[in-house]
Amino acid sequence: MPLPNDALLEMYRRMTRIRQFENTCHELYQRGQIEGVLHLSIGQEAVSVGACYGLTADDYITSTHRGHNDIIAKGADLTRMMDELFMKETGYCRAKGGSMHIADFTLGILGANGIVGAGIPIATGAALAIKLRGERRVAVCFFGDGAVNQGFFHEGLNLASVWRLPVVFVCHNNAWAESTAQAATHAVADVAERAKAYGMPGVSVDAIDVTAVHEACAAAIARAREGDGPSLINCKTYRWYGHHVGDADQPYRSKEELAATRARDCIVHHRERLMRSGVADARLLETIDRDVAGEITAAVEHAKAAPPPSADSMYEDIFVGIDVREGGAS
């Protein structure tokens, strides 16, 4: 079933939003305007957008340290994200989370996560909640290829399968985990193969194509909503930049490899398809690009002007109903 034109355009808009957001973060970091750890998701936009397109705020996602993409794809507010990166009181996490912990519980975004693999059992648990309540929601769990070797992956996928939970495991397979190439750490070449050990469908997709990602994920999501259990979708993509912004030279991989994969840009690919098929002309796409640029600029402006957190806020948001300032060590 081909996607309607407005869906294709919306996917373009969302991928562009991620790309521009991340490029802006990169610049801001290089100019010293934002600090902390920052893992750019550039190159991986099609995975997030393909998987999240069609989800509603009732559906859950979990994401990773490299999570801006998934979070934006699920509809997060760019201003509150940028405020957070600027460490402002108005940020999603009131300046206490930063890039690795952005969440929006009103949108079902159960958070980026700094612990590799930790989102897997969390998404599984969210799916369990759905099942216990008899709802038709779904949980989409994003993780990197490096996380596949964590115990969390094994325990989470087995549990989700045994309990037939409505969760879709989406691997951002960008070929690298920090400085380590996948072949050095994966016993089998195809991440989708791992699904067999858990009795669930496993599919690999070339994530240059956002519609291919969407098709695979949408089928798995539909299956999950029907109560037929979890799936694993291995999205083959690539990390365009260093592991984090501090890892600029990337001595562990070649300029050629980088250039070759950057040539396979999911946004360019989608753009060309839109133009080729007549869904959009260059002008329309430029309008979208400009609109998005406007959103990002507005977000940056807002963030710059936003108030910093108060010193007191360090003691807030720890417990419900318990003030930790009272009682000293208690």
């Binding site: 958070g111 599984t124 949980a139």
Partner: protein, 326 residues
């Protein structure tokens, strides 16, 4: 009106009532379902009554148990996860320490994580070094986590109910040597509030702060000491976080002497924090050193004979008090 029951039965009753009261409460853990009813039989009868959807046996996957409980709590449920031995938290603490305890903070207060992690600890059953530890101090070191450690049937009952109803993540630590202990529990449904210490015995000469299975030993020591005319006050904090510092320090200010008792290894055990707090905030009330009577700084030996040497008991507590007052 009270009814006599064991700690095990009291915990079972609390779980049963909370399952009946709130459809968002459910239990998960290894071997908790009927007819087995849990390795410690705390969940006996609950899956038969409330169904195996709400009292769920899991694979042996502690990280997934803990993580899934966190995820379900984030998604609006009130999971109660059982980890069979506290020793196993060494392999699955992430969900408790890095996730449950921090989600509210890391998200700027967007969410609460109403999950209870039930587990049990302590030596005394010849289960050796990997099945008899007491890690409560680890978790009191983790901001964002409530840590409960009941010693009597009525506290076990009332605190577990409060823990399940609380919106914060709670580590609920049972003591294997307490399960069979009997005592009165209110017949009417009641909850014991978190954060309140209980003075189990009044006295003027020394304050004994004891937790878990050591509360009974401290009370036995107090009885023994009373024969010598020494009146020991015995306080059970019941919740280690938040701690009822006021009540404890008030007691120390009256008695001027403090002895802290737990079965965990002494070094960096919870008694270290309690002693440090007294030394820092009640120093001028003290007439003598703050004494800790605790598990030996050794792994727990399998031999019952050696294990008995590892664990504090009434005699060792009484001896420590006598030395302190000498």
């Amino acid at each position: 009106m009270t009814v006599e029951m064991t700690v095990r039965e009291a915990l079972n009753r609390a779980l049963d009532e909370e399952l009946a009261r709130d459809p968002s409460v459910f239990l998960l853990g290894e071997d908790i379902a009927d007819p087995f009813g849990g390795s410690w039989k705390v969940t006996k009868g609950l899956s038969d009554k409330h169904g195996i959807a709400r009292v769920r046996n899991t694979p042996i996957s502690e990280s997934a148990i803990v993580g899934a409980a966190v995820g379900a709590a984030l998604a609006g449920m009130r999971p109660v996860a059982e980890i069979m031995y506290i020793d196993f938290l060494a392999l699955c603490a992430d969900g408790i320490v890095n996730q449950a305890a921090k989600f509210r903070y890391m998200s700027g207060g967007q969410v609460s994580v109403p999950v209870v992690f039930r587990t049990q600890g302590g030596s005394g059953r010849s289960t050796a070094a990997q099945h008899g530890q007491s890690f409560e101090s680890w978790f009191t070191h983790v901001p964002g986590l409530i840590v409960v450690m009941p010693s009597t049937p009525s506290d076990a009952y009332g605190l577990l109910k409060s823990a399940i109803r609380d919106d914060n993540p709670v580590l609920f630590i049972e003591s294997k040597m307490c399960y069979a202990q009997k005592g009165p529990v209110p017949r009417a449904e009641t909850a014991v509030p978190l954060g309140l210490a209980d003075i189990k015995r009044r006295g003027r000469d020394v304050t004994i702060v004891a937790i878990g299975a050591m509360v009974a030993e401290a009370l036995a020591a107090a009885t023994e000491l009373a024969d010598d005319g020494i009146e020991a006050e015995v306080i059970d904090p019941r919740t280690l976080v938040p701690l009822d510092k006021v009540r404890i320090l008030e007691s120390v200010s009256r008695t001027s002497r403090a002895v802290i008792v737990h079965e965990a290894t002494k070094r960096s055990g919870w008694g270290a924090e309690m002693a440090a707090l007294i030394a820092e905030e009640a120093f001028h009330d003290l007439d003598g050193p703050v004494v800790r009577v605790a598990g030996a700084n050794t792994p727990i030996p399998a031999s019952p004979m050696l294990e008995a040497l590892h664990r504090p008991n009434a005699a060792r507590i009484a001896a420590a008090v006598r030395r302190l007052l000498a």
